[in-house]
Structures are given as C-alpha cells and as structure tokens.
C-alpha cells in the first residue's frame, strides 16, 4: 500500500510539474512594457514554489513508503517535537514568502501607484452588458459630458455611453467599439461601467482592471508590440458574460493618427 501511494503521489507530482515546466499552456506572449517584469516575477515564483512542491510531495511519497509498518520496524522515536526545528522552518518560510512578495512590489508600484507619463494617450473604456466602448477625447483633449438619461445601449456608439451633444467638449469625442492604441506610447485609461461590474482583461498586455459603476478608475499601460489582442470580460456581469469580448489593435503612431483622423472626419 505504501508503494502504491508513493507511485501515485510521485506520478501526480511529476506530471503536474512537467506541464508547468514545459509551458504547454502558459502566459501568452506579452506585448506591453510591464511584460518583462511581470513574467520575471512569475518565473521566480514558479521556481521557488516548484522546489517546495517537488520536495514536499516527493518527500510525502517517500515517507509513507519508507515508514510503512513492518513486523521488524524499529520502535518509533518517542518525541513530541523539536523547538529549534519549529523556529527554523518558521523563520525560513517567513523570509521566503515575504521576501518574494517584496520583490514583486516595485512592479506593482510602477503599474498602480505611479501616475501615467506626461503626454499619454487618453482613452476612456466603458463596459456595459455586454459590450465595450472606447472614447477618445479628440483634439481638445477633454472628454465631453455624458448623462445617464441619454444612455441608449441599443443604438451603440455615442448614444450607448450617453454623450451629451450640447456640451462643446463632446463635439470632437470619438466613440468606437474597437480599441486602437499607438505602439510605445503610454496610455492613460479611464475605466467606467454603466450597469454592473465588468473587468477589462487583455492577457497579452498583462492588464486587468475592474470597471465599477460609480467609479472612474485611472490606469496606465504601454503596448510595445504592434498586433491585435483580444479583450475578455473577467468579472461575471450577467448571461452574456462569456461573449463580452473585444479587440485592441496596437498600431504605429502614424496609423493611429490616420485612424483617429478618419473617425473625426466621419463624425463631422
């Protein structure tokens, strides 16, 4: 029985570890400035937790096999523990866990504590059951007023976010259903929701943030690779949660300017 347990526990451990190590299913290729730091912290955590995982599980399998009761087993050591050992593994674990955490803290600070760089591209993201809308403030750099009474999700676009046409600042606002971002520019995101909580998740950009009704949450990110990236809603928002997806097109500054100008032109 001890041997059967050893084999099962070892098999589970090694197969599980293989798929983590082989990265058969792993983080998608990253395309934002934060990728390097985040992926490095992932790798570090994987190595440390992986060592503990292997040691604990393989050790468990070994112990149950090695110390199965046999007719000729020597008497068990009559011990109630060892204070020095307890102190040792308490201190080691505390140093390891808290140290690991502190190593990741600067990345978190750079993502969430620091404000966006000066000159960042402003984009407002609005979530509603079950679509994402993106608003660009236009040449004036100011978002026009919106009003809940004007919100009409069935019409889409400006009407969906309730843009108030009587506000001068709203004249040049562009509202789209697809997100365009210039490459290598910091983006100043403003996240909002009109109905329930949604979460703006772009795995390739290593970005996630809930959009909460009543809050205007400011975040920043910097895409670094031109390409198309999928958005998935990550907070349960109702029956259409699974299909609340969207696209981010990261393009060159030139293409971005052209695209935005074309949208402005359509609007006039």
């Amino acid at each position: 029985m001890g041997l059967a347990l050893l084999l099962l526990i070892w098999l589970i451990t090694l197969v599980s570890t293989y798929f983590f190590a082989a990265k058969t299913w792993y983080l998608p290729a990253g395309a934002s400035a934060a990728t390097g730091w985040i992926d490095h912290q992932f790798a570090l955590t994987f190595v440390l937790m992986g060592i503990i995982f292997l040691a604990a599980q393989l050790g468990l399998g070994y112990i149950v096999w090695r110390y199965s009761e046999k007719p000729n087993s020597p008497p068990v050591p009559y011990t109630h523990g060892n204070t020095k050992l307890e102190i040792l593994w308490t201190v080691l674990t505390a140093v390891l866990f808290i140290g690991l955490n502190l190593m990741g803290a600067p990345v978190w600070a750079s993502q969430r504590w620091d404000p966006p760089e000066v000159g960042a591209v402003k984009v407002e993201v609005t979530g509603m059951q079950f679509a994402w809308y993106f608003r660009y403030p236009g040449p004036d750099g100011t978002y026009g007023a919106t009003s809940p009474k004007l919100m009409d999700p069935s019409s889409g676009g400006e009407a969906a976010v309730g843009l108030n046409p009587s506000d001068p600042a709203s004249k040049d606002d562009v509202v789209t259903g697809t997100m365009y971002l210039p490459v290598n520019r910091e983006v100043d995101l403003s996240l909002r929701s009109v109905d329930v909580i949604h979460s703006f998740f772009v795995p390739s950009l290593r970005f996630k943030q809930d959009a909460v009704p009543g809050l205007d949450i400011h975040m920043h990110l910097k895409p670094t690779v031109i390409g198309d990236y999928e958005i998935a809603c990550a907070e349960l928002c109702g029956l259409g949660h699974y299909k609340m997806h969207g696209m981010v097109h990261v393009v060159s500054q030139e293409d971005f300017d052209k695209w935005l100008a074309a949208r402005e032109a359509e609007k006039q």
């Binding site: 050591p77 009559y78 307890e86 308490t90 690991l100 803290a105 600070a109 009704p213």
Partner: protein, 588 residues
C-alpha cells in the same frame, strides 16, 4: 502537561450536573427534534451528504454544458448560458455553506467534540437543536430558488452588486435572488448559534484533567473554527440584510446611479465595493472555517496511524491560532483588481504571505509526525495523507495569487478556481472523508469496508487532481472563469481540449463517489461489528462504548491524566497510552 496529574490547572465544573435532559423515549424526540449532540451531529452530516450530491450534480451539468453546449439532457433539458450561471451560483453556495461549513463543524464537531473533552453533551442542547433546524430551513429556502419564476440567481456565490442588487440585471435576479440572500441570512443565524455553543462547551465542559493543552487537535480546530464563525457570520448577516434592502426597499447601500438595459435605476450613491469588503471579511475566514477541522482530523489520524505522538503539538495549536488571527486581515486579497486602493493591496498582500507561514508549519509537522513512524494504511489514513498532498498543492498556488502583480494576470481566471477547489474544496472534502472512515465505527458500531474504501480513495485522489490541476494551466493561459462557453474568444477556444479532458475526469470521479455512499449505507447495517477502540487510539471517544450511550460515558465522569497523542511510549504496556489511563504510566 508534565507529570500527568493536571497539576495546578483549574479543574472545570462537573459536567454531569449540567446534563439536564434524560434519554428521550419517543421516535420524534429521539431522532427528529433531538437534544442529543450525537443525533444532531448525524442530522448535520446527512444534511451535508444530501447537499453535496446536489452540488456535485450541478457541477456535472456545468461540465457537460461547457463541452457539449447543445446537449439536451434528461429532466434538465437544454442548458442556456443563464442556466449555466444559475448552476454555478447554486453549486458554489450549496457547497460552501451546506457542505464545507456544515459537515466538518456541525456534523463531526457536534458528534465528537463533547465526547473528546469528556462532556455529556453540548453546553446548550436546545440551542444546538435550534441551530440544526435553522440550517435545515436555510437549505430548503435555497433549493426553492430553483423552482420559482426566473429560476435561481446567476450572480455567482460571491453575489457582487449591482448584478445581485438590481432585479432587472438578469434572469434569476428576481425572487430567486431574494431566496438566495434569505437562505444565506438564515444560515448565518444558525451558524452564530452553533458557534456560541461550541465555544461555551469547549471552555466550560472539559472533564477533570482535560486542560486546554491536553485537548486533541480536533477540539482545538473546532474551537477556533467556532470563534471564526462567531466573528464572520455576523458580518455576512448584516451585509445580506443590506442587500435585501437594496433589492426590495429602494435603499442604495451598494448601488450607485446605474443604467440597466437603458433604464435609469432609482439608486444613487451606493458603493459596490462596500459589499465586496463585507463579503470577503466573512469570505476569507470562511475558507479557514472549511479547512481548519480538516487540519484537526488530519493531525489526529496521522498521529494515530503512524503510532507516534503528533510532532510539535504546541506549534500546531499556535499555527491554528495564527491562521485564525491572520485570517481576518487578508480579505482584501480578493479585491486587488476591484478598484480598491493599490496601497492597501500592498498591505493585504504582505499579510496574506504571513498566513502562509503557519500553513507551512503545519505541513512540516505532519511530515515530522509520519517520519520514522509505523504507518498503517487503513482508509482514514489514506485520506489524511491525501489531505496533506492536496493541502500542499492547493496551498502553493496561494503565493502566486497573493502577489497583486501576478494577480493582474490570474484574478478571475481558472487558476483561482483550481486553487480554491484544491484547498478549500477537495482538501476539506478529504478531511470529511477521513473523519467519516475514522469515526464511523464509533458512530454506527460497525466497520466500513476497507477494500472499497481504498478503491474509492485512489480513484478520488487521481480524479480530483486530473480535474483541478489543469485549471492552473488554463488560468495562466488567460481562461476566464464563469464563462458558459469558450467559443466566443479565439484564444480561449484553443483551450477547449483541456476542458474536455477535465469533463471526462469529472464524470469518472463523480461516478466513484457512489462507491462511498454504498459503502456508507451498506456498512451501517451489514458491516462487521466494531470494538470500542478499533484503531487503538488514545482520545476519550475510544474509552466509551460503541456507539456511546446517551450521556456519552454511561454515568462515569472521565478523568484525564495524559496528553492526546501518546503513542510508542517507552515502558508502557501497549504501544499507546489512553488519555484516561492511570497517571502512573510513563507518558506525558
């Protein structure tokens, strides 16, 4: 603990005098509205057994729908996306409240705690009966949510407003959601009554010589769980009442001005994050409410079946106390992506890492207990070993999720689902299985079948790993949880083969649970008769007859002379010294 006489420790009140009620005669007072903690424990256990089969059936339907979305099933019919979300909500709620909170504490705690401390019953038998029947009402109310217009709610077991607070936010958010909140509120009341009873019983009804530091670790785990319950359920109860008011009375505790389906709702100025704070202030300690009794029973069984004293008894007690203490300071790690201040995220993250330390201490001590032991592989031991393995696997994904910077990628993905299922789901369930196989002889006077117990164990261990380990890979790849289908997002569609594998693993594992149920009921009537102490264990429940009489010790009052895990004592006549053995024996 030294000397074996209890020394200068305070001697507790005489338990016999407190046992006011006589053995009941009629069927109803004996088995339905019983005051006997043993009957009430079994009532809790069978309620949880019913609930776990309901919850497991719901998960089976979910797994089938994810892979074969158009399948038309007998009885249930076709599962629509909103049906899927209802199944998910009810699966989570039923499992967390009516299984993981009910069986380890209400079931085994009720049955075993008084006997293990040498008491004739719980401190408040009427309150005990009331808390069971209140729990029962809560269960009936939540099941009723399936059958009302609109069906069960779809807002998930976490019930985040505004989705859970605005009736027009989705199907099931009408009467179904009201029943859901009401059921949880009823459950909270029942748990508060239970918690008071457990705490009082532990503090006041210990037999002579049963000092706190001589209590079995199971008693410590039930005691600490009760304290957590007392502090956590009151908060959830209040939060639930506020949610009911928001839903039905036009208040705005949780809902700001929102526009749902183009309609401006009447709410103004509420905070969706307030609910998350209140919910997780309960929700995180709840994780420990589910797992602490499993830790207790694992310690008990590892020591008994390794024929060795538990390694580091005091460290185990302090670790559980530390887990309980830190458990109330880490709730914000569920909210790193919620819009909560990123500065507080940093603090919650460090505190969460701290809670990993006592968890690691427990694991080291379990391995230390088995080290150089004489391990016997009866089914309870297999499940205790399985618990350790699952606790390690589920625990080590914690330091990933505790780091906000990694949580950017992992939050609300299958990585989280895999993490909490392994640790608070399956590990806790393994604790329940271990406890069932271990105490069954005492509870029913017969032995369970060993062969079928082992078969059940091996399929369940391999099966649960096959279901939940791949969830970590899926989460890393960005698979979001609570999606009824994965066909709409291109990168997620690529992950469907792994989901299919998990569905097959789930079908096999669920099928294997019938082995357990058949073994349970068959052994209850046909199993070989059990002796009073079939595992050669040391704690007080093994000193009384099998099953125990109405007052637990047949008019005797046990006197405790030794610690709870005295195995392999040099110079003792047997390889174990029971807690009530004469103080002259060489054990602690």
């Amino acid at each position: 603990m030294a000397g074996g006489t209890g020394g200068g420790e305070t001697v507790m009140a005489t338990p016999v005098a407190l046992h006011a009620h006589a053995a009941p005669q009629g069927f109803i007072r004996k088995y339905i509205f019983s005051l006997d903690h043993k009957v009430i424990g079994l009532q809790y256990y069978f309620l949880a057994l019913t609930a776990v089969f309901v919850g497991m059936f719901l998960s089976l339907l979910m797994r089938i729908h994810m892979i074969w979305p158009t399948a038309v099933l007998p009885i249930v019919g076709e599962i629509k996306p909103e049906t899927y979300l209802s199944l998910l909500t009810m699966h989570g709620t039923i499992m967390v409240f009516f299984v993981l909170t009910t069986a380890p504490q209400g079931g085994f705690g009720n049955y075993i705690l008084p006997i293990q401390i040498g008491a004739p019953d719980m401190a408040f038998p009427v309150l005990n009966m009331l808390s069971f029947w209140t729990t029962f009402v809560g269960f009936v109310v939540i099941i009723a949510a399936f059958f009302v217009t609109g069906g069960a709610p779809l807002h998930g077991w976490t019930g985040y407003p505004p989705l859970s607070a605005v009736q027009s936010a989705g199907p099931g958010e009408g009467l179904g959601a009201d029943l859901w909140v009401t059921s949880i509120a009823i459950f909270c009341i029942a748990s508060l009554m239970g918690a008071l009873n457990f705490i009082t019983t532990t503090l006041d009804l210990r037999a002579k010589g049963m000092t706190m530091m001589r209590m079995p670790l199971t008693c410590w785990s039930w005691f600490i769980t009760a304290i957590l319950g007392l502090l956590a359920f009151g908060v959830l109860l209040s939060a639930g009442i506020l949610l009911l008011l928001d839903r039905n009375m036009g208040t705005s505790f949780y809902v700001p001005l929102v526009v749902v389906n183009g309609q401006v709702m009447g709410h103004k100025g509420g905070s969706p994050l307030l609910w998350q704070h209140l919910f997780w202030f309960f929700g995180h300690p709840e994780v420990y409410i589910a797992i602490l009794p499993g830790m207790g029973v694992t310690s008990q069984i590892l020591s008994t079946f390794s024929r060795k004293p538990i390694f580091g008894y005091k460290a185990m007690v302090y670790a559980m106390l530390a887990i309980g203490f830190f458990g109330f300071m880490v709730w914000g790690h569920h909210m790193f992506m919620s819009g909560m201040s990123p500065y507080s995220a940093f603090a919650f993250s460090i505190l969460t890492m701290c809670i990993g330390v006592p968890s690691a201490i427990k694991t080291f001590n379990w391995l230390g207990t088995m080290w150089k032991g004489h391990i016997r592989f009866q089914t309870p031991m297999l499940y205790a070993i399985g618990f350790v393995s699952l606790f390690v696997s589920g625990g080590l994904s914690g330091p990933f999720l505790a780091q906000p910077v990694l949580d950017i990628q992992l939050h609300d993905t299958y990585f989280v689902v895999g993490h909490f299922h392994l640790i608070m789901g399956v590990a806790a369930i393994f604790g329940i299985f271990a406890a069932t196989y271990y105490w069954f002889p005492k509870m029913f006077g017969r032995m369970m079948n060993e062969t079928w117990g082992r078969i059940h164990f091996f399929i369940t261990l391999a099966g649960t790993y096959a279901i939940f380990m791949p969830m970590h890979y899926l989460g890393l790849a960005g698979q979001t949880r609570r999606y009824s289908q994965f066909t709409e997002v291109a990168y997620q569609a690529k992950l469907i083969p792994l989901q299919t594998f998990m569905t097959y693993a789930a079908i096999i594992t669920i099928a294997a649970q019938f082995i357990f149920v058949i073994n349970l009921f068959w052994s209850m009537f046909k199993g070989p008769k059990a002796s009073d102490n079939p595992w050669e264990a040391t704690t007080l429940e093994w000193t009384t007859t099998t099953p125990p009489p109405h007052d637990n010790f047949g008019g005797r009052t046990p006197v405790v002379n030794h610690g709870p895990y005295e195995y392999g004592v040099p110079g003792a006549p047997r390889d174990y010294v029971m807690q009530t053995d004469p103080a002259t024996l060489p054990a602690h």
